[in-house]
């Protein structure tokens, strides 16, 4: 008996006449949409079971490191040690407490204390991201560690501190590596990372997390982005190659002990667990929860909906922990990462539909402003692939998001000027870089807001724009479905359609009636392994 196409692969559903409507993220809301028959919907893998004893797994990793001596064998009383942590951009949304970084820190600090090491600074490797607020920092490491170290010995990296950065020299390609002085002058740096996607971690941790603007300009620029075939496949990413080259210099001058952790994709807690499921398999309880969530969020203004969703932490679980030298550790990490996130997909599509949720790495506890919608669409979602892009060259990308013209003046001040002053003039990444990047990067107000407030660096909106360069050049059209205004999509170079049905009709008129349509059912994140 032939097997129905829709039953061939549990990770892929082909929409039929009797299929349930699909749930699509739409900013702080979500849509239930009947997709055209034949549409392929790709789902993430179910969460891999978390390790039963995360603390034990971390301890085992640091006692059995890859490529170097165990941590305890490297310790001596009186050593100067810096512990660097990934910032709040990972994981997304922030995880339930205790955060994996807290668990790892507790294990490491206990070991350091047993070996008479007390010259310890904990630095959040936020690079040019905003500095975290005190409550966020407290939540990340727990009250006990926070109270013992904050603010003198637990703080955020300041890439603009003239006395706080030092140069390690240049790579053979003349890329200058400038790193946080405290870390460079330490006898040992312990980097505790969280790997959510394959572009995280490895050499990127120190060379990006603890660097300054000048060092970033060697790889956070349009040509490097164009030379990268996706960001999620390190072997094909020029961005990664440059980080590896610069990381070589870091390894020459610094003793870095990496502790890399991999989380599963259990993003939604019980009350929103239906997001993890295939809509055809919804139980009555799932439908009830869905309707209840829809009803209650429909009664709330957007800002309250936003804070409601931002306040639901994700029950991510640790599924792997590796420690030791950068490269062997990261190799293992990537392997485990792909175990969870890679989904085999047969063939590219002509039209790709993606719902843009309320969150990105750059707006935790804040607004997903228009530039971030752009970075999520042609930036991250387009680049979520291994092998070939999921949408074929010249295809259409449909993004479901209201595209409201809202910015957070405290976190994203330079984004506002970038969006309203620069984009009306040009959206060419090279022109923007040439003409304006330095002005924004050196703007004393933005620097002050980055250093003493919680603002992203003045140059950050440029990086966000470059991020979308490959996606913009690859597709022939991007349609913002459900955009509530005309000017935001227009400034981003998108077309606008009031509904998803109209966006699909528009895309079909562009690509032909027989165009292959695919929807990525995310979040949680998945990485299509396109054959």
């Amino acid at each position: 008996m032939p097997v129905l196409r829709r039953k061939l692969d549990p990770g892929t559903v082909h929409i039929d006449t009797d299929s349930a409507p699909r749930l699509i993220h739409f900013g702080e809301d979500f849509w239930e949409e009947d997709l055209p028959v034949g549409t392929r919907v790709i789902y993430p893998k179910p969460p891999i079971q978390g390790l039963p004893n995360p603390r034990g797994a971390i301890r085992h990793a640091i006692n059995h490191p890859l490529g170097c001596d165990p941590l305890h064998a490297q310790l001596e009383p009186g050593m100067k040690i810096t512990i660097a942590l990934d910032d709040i951009s990972l994981p997304l949304p922030p995880m339930v407490t205790p955060d994996t970084r807290q668990t790892a820190l507790e294990v490491v600090l206990e070991l350091l204390s047993d070996h008479g090491v007390d010259n310890i600074h904990i630095i959040i490797a936020n690079s040019l991201h905003r500095k975290m607020t005190e409550p966020e920092m407290r939540r990340m490491v727990g009250t006990e560690i926070h109270d013992a170290f904050y603010p003198d010995r637990y703080y955020c990296h300041d890439a603009e501190d003239p006395d706080g950065m030092t140069s390690l020299g240049q790579t053979r390609h003349k890329e200058e590596v400038r790193i946080n002085r405290r870390a460079v002058e330490s006898d040992l740096v312990i980097y505790i990372n969280i790997n959510l996607v394959p572009m995280d971690g490895g050499h990127k941790s120190v060379t990006v997390g603890l660097c300054d603007y000048e060092s970033l300009t060697y790889h956070h620029e349009p040509q490097t982005i164009l030379d990268s075939d996706g960001y999620m496949d390190p072997a094909k990413s020029e961005l990664n190659h440059k980080c590896v080259r610069m990381g070589g210099l870091v390894d020459e001058h610094m003793n870095v002990f990496h502790i890399e952790t991999v989380l599963n994709n259990r993003m939604y807690a019980d009350q929103l667990g239906f997001f993890n499921k295939n809509e055809d398999d919804f139980t009555e309880l799932d439908r009830l929860k869905l309707q209840a969530t829809k009803w209650s969020t429909s009664k709330l203004p957007r800002s309250l909906k936003r804070s409601f969703f931002h306040n639901i932490p994700s029950p991510f679980e640790l599924i792997g922990c590796y420690a030791g030298k950068t490269e062997p550790v990261h190799e293992k990490t990537l392997e485990r990462c792909f175990d969870q996130y890679a989904v085999k997909v047969k063939g590219q599509c002509d039209i790709l539909i993606v719902g843009v949720p309320y969150i990105s790495p750059y707006n935790v506890n804040s607004i997903l402003n228009p530039l971030l919608v752009q970075v999520m669409g042609p930036g991250y979602f387009f680049n979520l692939y291994r092998g070939k892009p999921l949408v074929r060259k010249g295809g259409v990308l449909i993004l479901c998001h209201p595209c409201y013209d809202e910015f957070d003046p405290q976190f994203h001040p330079s984004y506002i000027e970038f969006f309203h002053r620069l984009l009306p003039e040009t959206n060419d990444a090279f022109t923007l870089r040439e003409k304006y990047e330095e002005e924004f990067a050196n703007n004393p107000s933005y620097i002050q807001m980055y250093r003493s407030g919680n603002a992203y660096h003045g140059a950050h909106p440029f990086f966000m724009w470059y991020w979308g360069e490959n996606g913009r050049r690859h597709v022939s059209k991007i349609i913002a479905a459900g955009a509530e205004n005309q000017h935001v999509p227009e400034l981003l170079g998108f077309d606008r359609a009031p509904t998803l049905a109209e966006a699909i009709a528009d895309a079909r008129s562009h690509m032909g009636r027989s165009a292959e349509i695919t929807m990525l059912h995310l979040p949680p994140i998945l990485i299509p392994d396109v054959e």
Binding site: S445, Q448, M449
Partner: protein, 220 residues
């Protein structure tokens, strides 16, 4: 074309204001009785100053500087250094020097545009390394303050027009210029430059800055 950074002083780079300065002079007046009387008068005048300032900076200036009437120029100058050391220097905002140094490193000319008295701001500007400034000047006749200011009186729109004239004279592009101020009365000064920044803003300026999408910086 080159640019400049224009700073308001009171409330922007330092936490003191005109009343703190006057209070210092009152406290240090000659003779205990005179000093007590002036100090008491300053305290009594506070509600009036606040109301006048809320109404208009010009009205505030008209009322406030009358209180200097009769002060000797020598004495005001003589006490200016002590005023700086005791009152103004500790009141410089922690982020002020950082902001100035970054701004200077961009090659911007550093210019202070303040409604404070020139006599009182000179030691501070010397320490901040700012050579170009415009401030209010008391009128003196026979070495005694008349209680009036010499025109142009630096407040609100006058600051903006001074910046415009200065930029034209010095060949600066206003589009490339930055301005930093804390109060709604400085809105004109912020409005004429290409890069306005509300700095430690009061409530009215904060909401205006938010409406105009201007950066809001805290130097405190």
């Amino acid at each position: 074309m080159a640019g400049a950074a224009f700073y308001d002083l009171d409330g922007t780079l330092v936490s003191t204001n005109l009343v703190h300065v006057f209070w210092f002079y009152a406290k240090n007046d000659q003779g205990i009785l005179k000093s007590l009387a002036r100090s008491a008068a300053t305290i009594a005048g506070l509600p009036l100053f606040m109301a006048a300032d809320a109404y208009s900076r010009k009205v505030f200036n008209d009322i406030f500087f009358k209180w200097y009437k009769g002060q000797s120029e020598d004495r005001l100058r003589y006490l200016a250094e002590d005023l700086y050391q005791e009152v103004i220097r500790p009141a410089v905002y922690p982020g002020a020097k950082q902001l100035l140094s970054k701004s200077r490193s961009m090659g911007l000319r550093q210019v202070v545009v303040t409604g404070a008295l020139d006599i009182t701001v000179q030691p501070l500007l010397r320490d901040l390394g700012i050579e170009e400034y415009v401030a209010n000047k008391l009128e003196f006749v026979d070495n005694r303050a008349t209680g009036r200011l010499k025109p142009p009186i630096m407040a609100s729109a006058t600051k903006a027009s001074w910046i415009r004239t200065y930029s034209e004279k010095e060949g600066l592009s206003l589009n490339e210029c930055y301005a930093y101020a804390d109060s709604m009365s400085d809105l004109p000064m912020l409005s004429v430059v290409g890069h306005p920044t509300a700095t430690n803003p009061d409530h009215r300026l904060r909401t205006t800055a938010q409406r105009h999408d201007w950066p809001i910086v805290s130097l405190q």
